[in-house]
Subunit: 410 residues, 2 copies
């Protein structure tokens, strides 16, 4: 066992040890939620013809400056019309034009339909109700985007809007970061699976489902290896299995009990332990290692500790693996609703509920009976961070807070 | 066409018209990302036996008050031990105990292993290095949760932490809100699918992929109906198909062009139009209706308009359908980095990038060439809201901003 290292130091060791997975070339309809691993450039101007932004009439602006006589309608131009088939608009004339349709030669403005009226007895004409400045309601070729312009960069998240950019550029395949394969292994003779009734002295395994769900929400492909017994042979087999994935996340077995065999078993399997103590509360016995390109997160067995360790460290590693340019979590600052205190020496990551209240996040630390209280993380939506040298903060104090994105209700 | 109605009014009409889908009873491993539609109660005390919170020695606290003589170790108690098999601890004795293990009769505190040392020549004994107060490092039965306590309520999002609570309560099935089936239909003769090269006057359909991606990220099961031509017969067939789902989202065809046939086609198919104009920029021609329990969102064809209308209205409806207790988006407030201006009369929803900067969100409105600029939503991560009566705001002003959750990087 080594001395606990600071959270920032631990996170930087984790991220340095984390490989970016090889990119994959995938169909664009599989790209949502991945990270882009190439530049997306415009393959043409947008628009690639001068185009109307409104429904109305393509006119000669100077013509309407003189007076507002009726104009003869020479053509109707729906969106999708080939510009080659457009008839010229001259003074005294106008073409009915739809949003997105090409501007005919001669016209230099679009008068919106609401600013026109019909001419009684002359369905071929229209009367302008106002003048219009030259260029009005027209998007010139290339006004939105120039051909060759870089629209998306490597390391960007592919959300819904990015899917639109990719489609508009005519891409049917893109390079996206790989999805990490992640195995979850719970340890502890006291654990039974949720479908079983715990016997005397036993508890249900909630870490397995939580860690797997966190990994799924982060974008990993997950595998649940079950509950390992507290004996070295059984543990060894399951860990060896998990080391075949990109990431192995364990819960339990990293503390100071005589049955805490995870550290020694990992070492005996050739895992290089990069640290095994972090100055964080909860979660001090967090053990991190690697074998080849496989990472091992040995989380403590207490549910809150395992949850915090995943949110602070493992999630960042997964995002880096998937190609995110900004994998580390970024806290906001909120205003504490209730005083908090802690013993010094470790950074406190407290389950909290952050809610926007008028001008700031109000941060309410969830009362908890301790790190075994599996309900407190479900009651919270964020982690309030007390630095290691701070022993107390009063209500009203400013506090750094990680908003957790597995909660849609902020 | 009616007068534009206020955004708040439109959202309330949408939510009032939106049914909550019938709940489904599903396996818990399918529950992640759904909304819970029942209470989850503890089926037992947690812990359901007095339990050690640390690795150490179960002792009689008063015994160590007197002096720190070596204690005889009477038993080793790993986690998972049946409390019925525990030997009593009496003054002068101690039991080695692991985190999570049951406290033996007679003991009233756990001295952590770091506060003990071995006794040379006597492996059966241990020497305490300090006293310990009664009750230290013990979680009493029911300390975390009492049997019967309500731990999760209907309407809560099932994130990772909730998966743990559900598992700890022994649930293998839960009642979750249904997933809406949603059909996306793009309209416009000018559109070609992304895999095709646009001919003269044509553009690629980016709305289809964007609307589908937004719906997927919101939790819907989606179906893409393709591009409808601007003729009533073709449009009618595709709309009728889409009305078989819970939600039909259209883009285009709701403006004032002669080919804008969506409104009349919807009416002819028996869709009740609840409004067809909203005082929002972009997105004024947003048309909303229903037929039976099916909802229709007729979004404008401009990419930015369609994106904004989905984010502000359709997403809230989907969340309500799925059983969310809080479906409407809740804005935060940020500080404008750059001045903004608009014509009065409609609420401006401006593509923006919100970034936490020390003490507040800095909100930078994305420069855009207009509502056809399909790149601006990808450059942003939020929508800055200018109320209808505000024509300009200076840099440094406070502005309401919707953080969009299809972006993981805040």
């Amino acid at each position: 066992m080594s001395e606990p290292i600071a959270v920032e130091r631990a996170l930087s060791i984790v991220l340095e040890a984390t490989p970016v997975l090889p990119f994959e070339s995938i169909d664009t309809d599989q790209a949502l939620g991945r990270w882009l691993q190439e530049e997306i450039k415009a393959d043409r101007d947008h628009p690639d013809f001068d185009k109307s932004l409104m429904d109305g009439y393509a006119v000669v602006a100077a013509d309407l400056e003189r007076d507002l006589r009726p104009l003869r309608v020479v053509q109707e131009i729906p969106a999708g019309t080939d510009p080659a088939g457009l008839r010229a608009v001259r003074p005294g004339g106008a073409s009915r034009i739809m949003t997105g349709a090409p501007i005919p030669p001669g016209a230099d403005a679009v008068l919106i339909v609401e600013e026109t009226e019909g001419v009684e007895g002359d369905p071929e004409s229209v009367r302008p109700k106002s003048a219009v400045r030259a260029g009005a309601n027209i998007a010139r070729r290339g006004a939105d985007v120039r051909s060759g312009e870089v629209l998306l960069r490597a390391g960007e998240f592919i959300g819904a809007a990015e899917m639109g950019v990719i489609a508009a550029c005519g891409r049917t395949r893109v390079r996206a970061g790989g999805r990490p394969r992640l195995a979850v292994l719970a340890t502890g003779d006291e654990l039974v699976e949720p479908e079983n009734a715990p016997g005397p002295g036993q508890i249900r395994n909630s870490n397995g489902p939580v860690l797997r769900a966190l990994a799924l929400r982060a974008g990993a492909v997950t595998r649940y290896l079950g509950i390992a017994p507290d004996d070295e042979r059984g543990l060894r087999l399951l860990i060896e299995d998990g080391l075949g994935d990109d990431v192995l996340v364990l819960s339990g077995g990293v503390s100071m009990g005589t049955r805490d065999l995870v550290g020694q078993t990992l070492r005996s399997l050739g895992v290089e332990i990069l640290f095994d103590r972090v100055a964080i509360r909860p979660g001090k016995p967090f053990t991190f290692g690697r074998r080849g390109s496989a990472l091992v997160f040995g989380c403590p067995g207490n549910p809150v500790s395992a949850y915090v360790i995943f949110q602070v460290f493992a999630r960042a590693a997964l995002r880096r693996m998937m190609g995110s340019a900004h994998p580390a979590p970024v806290p906001v600052r909120g205003v504490l609703k209730t005083p908090v205190r802690q013993r010094p020496g470790r950074a406190g990551y407290l389950q909290a509920r952050a809610a926007w209240a008028g001008g700031a996040y109000e941060v309410e630390v969830i009362p908890s009976s301790g790190s075994a209280d599996f309900v407190s993380s479900a009651r919270g939506n964020s982690l309030a961070i007390l630095p290691p040298d701070v022993t107390s903060l009063p209500a009203g104090a400013s506090i750094e807070t990680l908003l957790l994105d597995d909660q849609p209700d902020r």
